[in-house]
Subunit: 162 residues, 2 copies
């Protein structure tokens, strides 16, 4: 059983080591924070949460860890248009948890949906293969987002929905 090394189910430590990185307390804390939440946390969000338990972990470390994690493809970095990046664990190993986003352009609310994902993913995989071949491009990820007005903002907003 190739796991149970660092702490928590997946072999985080092994993954880090495998990429030439160390699995430190701050990194572990940051991953745990990402695992615990179902929200789309910004670097500062993560920093604040981590900071409660480990007050000496700094924002810089959060940024640096997220960069490492993104490079290892363990987290995905999103831009929802509000000027700060959001981070999510990939979960891409276990296909469960895969979802796409609905972004409210008025209040910036994000809704995850998993409905229709199967059909989408099926088409995406097909498309990915075709694109890979045509453009000789090694595709490793995709992003799908729908933009519009959420229930609340639909009522409030005028024709422009600003």
């Amino acid at each position: 059983m190739p796991r149970g090394d660092g702490k928590g189910p997946p072999g985080w430590k092994g993954r880090f080591r495998g990429c030439g990185h160390r699995f430190t307390i701050p990194r572990q804390a940051i991953i745990e924070t990402l695992e615990k939440t179902s929200e789309h946390l910004s670097a500062e969000d993560i920093y604040l949460k981590v900071h409660k338990q480990y007050p000496n972990i700094g924002l810089t470390t959060v940024y640096r860890t997220l960069e490492v994690l993104a490079q290892m493809r363990l987290v995905f970095k999103f831009d929802f248009g509000d000027g700060r990046a959001r981070y999510e664990l990939s979960h891409s190993d276990s296909k469960k948890d895969h979802h796409h986003h609905l972004v409210c352009t008025s209040c910036n609310r994000i809704i995850d949906y998993t409905d229709f994902i199967d059909e989408e993913v099926e088409l995406l995989n097909k498309t990915e293969k075709a694109l890979s071949k045509k453009f000789n491009f090694k595709i490793s990820n995709h992003l799908i987002q729908f933009y519009g007005l959420c229930e609340k903002c639909k009522k409030t907003a005028g024709p422009l929905g600003g």
Copy 2:
């Protein structure tokens, strides 16, 4: 024939007026720049191009105009992960020109593709309707991007492709 007001084919002036905005020289120049290019320009890119012909148009105006245009849904603002936003005319009236993006995570090259778009758009429309109903969300746009390594970077890059 409800056009030919400002300059150039579409009734830009009318559209601006319709939204309570004025159609000024800077705005016209910015739109023309967007129309002329097939690239994904950043605010500064646009500024530099516009600036050649109208040296007194400032970067601030470019940002402000792009914001207005985005609000009017005439341009779409993209984030390709390199820290600066890119802008593209929507073209959404004439369905032609609609494309999605392949983003190279190594060199940040962007490839537009229109292949398979039809199938994708068909599924997207279906999904949009279903999502709109389920979440009572008024969807007005979507974003699809594939991330990976382009031909060049595939050769150069190691297993991580950083």
